[in-house]
């Protein structure tokens, strides 16, 4: 049991949003950038903050605070944009700060449906536990799906 789970270690980039910690699969992360000027795009959901120029590519940026209905806060020194690539789509997410890279085995991850039925949010993949901390692991494929309100 020990051995097999050891081979299943996955790495997650852990970032902070308010008091909570979240994690995304490191395989999906392209780069982590400092905040740059973002051009607003009209007629998009409000959590789409706009697009920015990343070395010649136009990348849409999602404001995770707005996506999770958290109060909007001004950018700080620590604010970062995590650029994520899923299949052919690149997108950046704005987070309060990036903490670390965490190793989690399958045994460390708990399925959310185990402890609550209220979660209708399919963009949460599970909850990782390590050293007494709790990290919400995000399913980016689901998270970036826009409602058809364009």
């Amino acid at each position: 049991m020990e051995l097999s789970s050891n081979t299943d270690v996955r790495q997650y980039v852990v970032f902070k949003l308010g008091q909570d910690e979240y994690g995304v699969d490191i395989q999906k992360v392209t780069t982590i950038e400092q905040v740059k000027p973002i051009a607003r795009v009209p007629r998009t959901p409000d959590y789409i903050k706009g697009v920015l120029n990343l070395r010649g590519d136009i990348i849409p940026i999602m404001d995770l605070r707005k996506r999770f209905n958290l109060p909007v806060e001004p950018d700080t020194e620590d604010t970062r944009i995590i650029i994520i690539k899923i299949e052919e789509i690149s997108i950046g997410i704005i987070v309060d700060s990036v903490a670390e890279v965490m190793n989690l085995t399958e045994a460390d991850i708990e399925n959310v449906t185990n402890f609550t039925t209220e979660f209708s949010l399919d963009y949460i993949m599970g909850v990782g536990k390590a050293d007494g901390r709790i990290v919400t692991l995000l399913n980016m494929e689901k998270l970036i799906k826009l409602e058809d309100n364009l």
Binding site: A39, P42, R43, V51, N53, I58, P60, I89, L146, L150
Partner: protein
């Protein structure tokens, strides 16, 4: 040598030949007596046969072979051109295209043998009594005549004059000692042979199956590079007899002649002089004649060389490489713009001068790259005559398609996309536009309907017009349908202009055809055309007159990647408006804005122009100090014939911008056509005038 390297050439060239064949067949149908067209068709069929044979596509070769028989009979006036005959030839063309497609997809010609077409071809031949013998004798079987191996041949075939060195002679001597035969084999390819090196490859393969090749003139490398005329000579040792070689080599297509002579063992001359039996003496005797011949050959060579130089000027390039080049040029332009806008630099005269020359070079570079990507619309147009012919035959209408401006050039990306919309429009014209013959007669029109397909350049746009002299669009009928479908109320319908009514035709699932045919009536068509054209930043207009015909005008941009744009400020946000749609910029005072049913408008030279407040439409956050401005800046844009006024806050200026897509996630946002990166590295969005105005 590997056959796959020829496959691409084969595919490309076959495509070209088939296209030429298509055109020639159409011409033949028009002018059955035109011998030059007939000769051209014959030549193409012959070339195709040769090429297919070379590549080992036997079924394809068989079909073209039978085609050739028929054409041969045609040329000899044994049979005459009939509609049935042309139909059969068109069927052959389709079959050949199918072969080609199968080759493209699977590298094999497939299993279909088109026995029915071959049968048809033979019927055409036999339907004519008498002279079938001549026609049946296939030209290629008659061609390779086995020649007796005479030493004299050497004078006729320069390469046959093989000089063996000591080592080679040694090998022959050894082989003969071991009871093997040594041959000098001269192979002459027919003059029409297209893929000479591939053909030679097959010959070499055949030879190597039965023998060991000791020497080849010209060298194998030169043969691979097609650096030879139409003949080459090899010296080979083999256990087999010369008859086998004659038989095997003559069974290869496009081999005109095979000359074999035996070489005997020969004591090696200590003086090192070359000696290979009989040929040495002959050499001495016939030098004079040979020299003459060589001169002739030289002349031919120079002719061939000059021909090569002309064809050598084009290079086939993968479109992806061009895209990479285009992207790099785009990046260069962005950086150049950035340099121009740089503040805080000591702007000495030399700085400005080199900036200016950089500007010139990048502009030239851009133009050059654009030109490389330009393709004449001919590549799309040339499949239409056949299509119109087929449809009109199906419908029993007589239709003449006139095309002009085929040489007009468009960006490759645009060319790839406009084929389908144009097919739709042509089908529309044939099916809906042109009336049946009796109706045309009744209204005093010539029986044959005319469809004109015209392309020409107009500034930064290319216009493609599809017009017909048919019945025009029945606007009343359209109106009725629109009311039936509940798109408008009866009262509203009466107030509609003709243009508004025609716009209904471009609505999804709107068909006026009362019955569904396999051509039209399903209501999928014009809306698809419109969407496609608009996705290319183009527009479609319709002019129609009942009873006289209609004209569809497609306006397309020359290029998609880099455009001139007007940069404006709305609130704090920068937007780019493509300069091609900007008609003029005016300043007005707020009082100039009038209302027509809650819609703000202004009067511009007696035209009512609706005003669009971009800040509202785009939801730009309002600025706090919204003082009443005394002067308003209005950018007048045109969408086809229609004008609209965009209210903007500040004009920044005109700039060359590179259009970038917003990416998959955000694509399809109305009113935004894309994004561009400005000199300062920030992003500005490009307004989609078509959906805003």
């Amino acid at each position: 040598m590997d056959m796959t390297q020829y496959l691409e050439i084969f595919i490309d060239e076959t495509k070209e030949h088939l296209q030429g064949l298509n055109q020639s067949l159409l011409q033949l149908e028009q002018n059955p007596d035109d011998t030059t067209v007939l000769n051209e068709i014959f030549r193409v069929a012959h070339t195709l046969k040769g090429m297919a044979g070379t590549m080992g596509f036997t079924k394809m070769a068989r079909l073209t072979h039978d085609m050739e028989n028929v054409l041969h009979a045609l040329r000899n006036n044994e049979i005459s051109v009939t509609t049935k005959l042309v139909d059969v030839l068109f069927k052959c063309l389709d079959a050949l295209e199918n072969y080609l497609n199968s080759i493209v997809n699977t590298s094999g010609e497939g299993d279909e043998e088109y026995k029915d077409i071959i049968q048809d071809l033979n019927d055409v031949l036999h339907g004519n009594t008498g002279n079938t013998d001549a026609a049946e004798a296939p030209p290629d079987k008659a061609a390779p005549v086995v020649q007796a191996a005479l030493p004299k041949e050497e004078s006729i075939y320069p390469t046959a004059n093989v000089q063996l060195d000591q080592y080679e002679q040694n090998v022959i001597n050894k082989a003969v000692e071991m009871g093997m035969n040594a041959f000098r084999i001269t192979v002459v390819l027919s003059k029409g042979c297209v893929l000479k090196s591939a053909r030679s490859f097959i010959i070499f393969q055949t030879l190597e199956r039965y023998s060991d090749i000791i020497k080849s003139i010209p060298k194998v490398e030169d043969i691979e590079d097609e650096k030879f005329d139409f003949e080459f000579t090899v010296v080979a040792v083999s256990k087999e007899s010369s008859e086998l070689f004659i038989k095997e080599l003559n069974s290869i297509a496009e081999v005109e002649k095979v000359v074999i002579s035996s070489l005997s063992a020969c004591p090696i001359d200590t003086s090192g002089e070359n000696n290979n039996g009989t040929s040495a003496e002959v050499n001495a005797v016939e030098t004079a004649a040979e020299e003459e011949l060589l001169e002739e050959k030289d002349e031919q060579k120079t002719v061939a060389a000059s021909k090569k130089a002309v064809t050598g000027k084009t290079v086939r390039v993968d479109i992806n490489r061009l895209d990479v080049l285009m992207n790099l040029v785009s990046e260069l332009i962005i950086q150049k713009t950035r340099l121009e806008g740089m503040d805080g630099v000591d702007r000495s005269q030399t700085f400005n001068e080199s900036l200016e020359s950089l500007e010139r070079i990048t502009t030239d570079l851009h133009d050059a790259v654009m030109k490389v990507r330009m393709v004449p619309v001919e590549t799309v147009f040339n499949r239409f005559p056949r299509m119109v012919r087929d449809i009109s035959k199906d419908l029993g209408k007589e239709i003449v398609l006139n095309m002009s401006g085929e040489e007009t050039e468009l960006d490759r990306t645009v060319i790839d996309e406009i084929g389908d919309p144009l097919i739709h429009m042509l089908r529309n014209s044939v099916d809906h536009g042109i009336e049946p013959a009796d109706k045309r007669k009744a209204s005093g029109k010539p029986v044959a309907g005319h469809i004109n397909l015209k392309a020409y350049q107009d500034g930064n746009n290319v216009i493609i017009e599809v017009s017909d002299d048919g019945q025009g669009i029945d606007t009343e009928n359209v109106k009725k349908k629109a009311i039936e479908k509940g798109l408008i109320s009866k009262e509203m319908a009466n107030n509609l202009s003709q243009k508004d009514i025609i716009d209904f035709l471009f609505k999804p699932s709107f068909s006026t055809a009362n019955k569904i045919t396999n051509l039209s009536g399903r209501g999928v068509g014009l809306d698809v055309v419109k969407t496609k054209i608009e996705s290319l930043n183009g527009s479609v207009e319709v002019e129609t007159e009942k009873g006289k015909g209609s004209r569809f005008i497609i306006r397309l941009p020359l290029t998609l990647a880099i455009i001139q744009a007007l940069l404006v400020l709305i609130g704090n946000e920068k937007y780019a408006i493509p300069i091609s749609s900007v008609s003029q910029i005016i300043n007005i005072s707020p009082e100039d804005i009038k209302f027509v049913q809650k819609q703000e408008v202004i009067l511009l030279r007696n035209m009512v122009v609706p005003i669009i407040r971009l800040d509202k439409v785009l939801g730009v956050p309002a600025e706090k100090s919204q003082e009443k401005q005394k002067q308003l800046t209005v950018v007048i844009v045109k969408k086809g014939e229609k004008l609209s006024g965009f209210l903007v806050d500040v004009l920044i200026g005109q700039q060359e911008i590179v259009i970038k897509s917003l990416g998959k996630l955000l694509q399809g946002i109305r009113c935004i056509a894309g994004a561009t990166i400005l000199g300062d590295g920030n992003v500005a969005l490009i307004l989609d005038v078509n959906s805003l105005a």
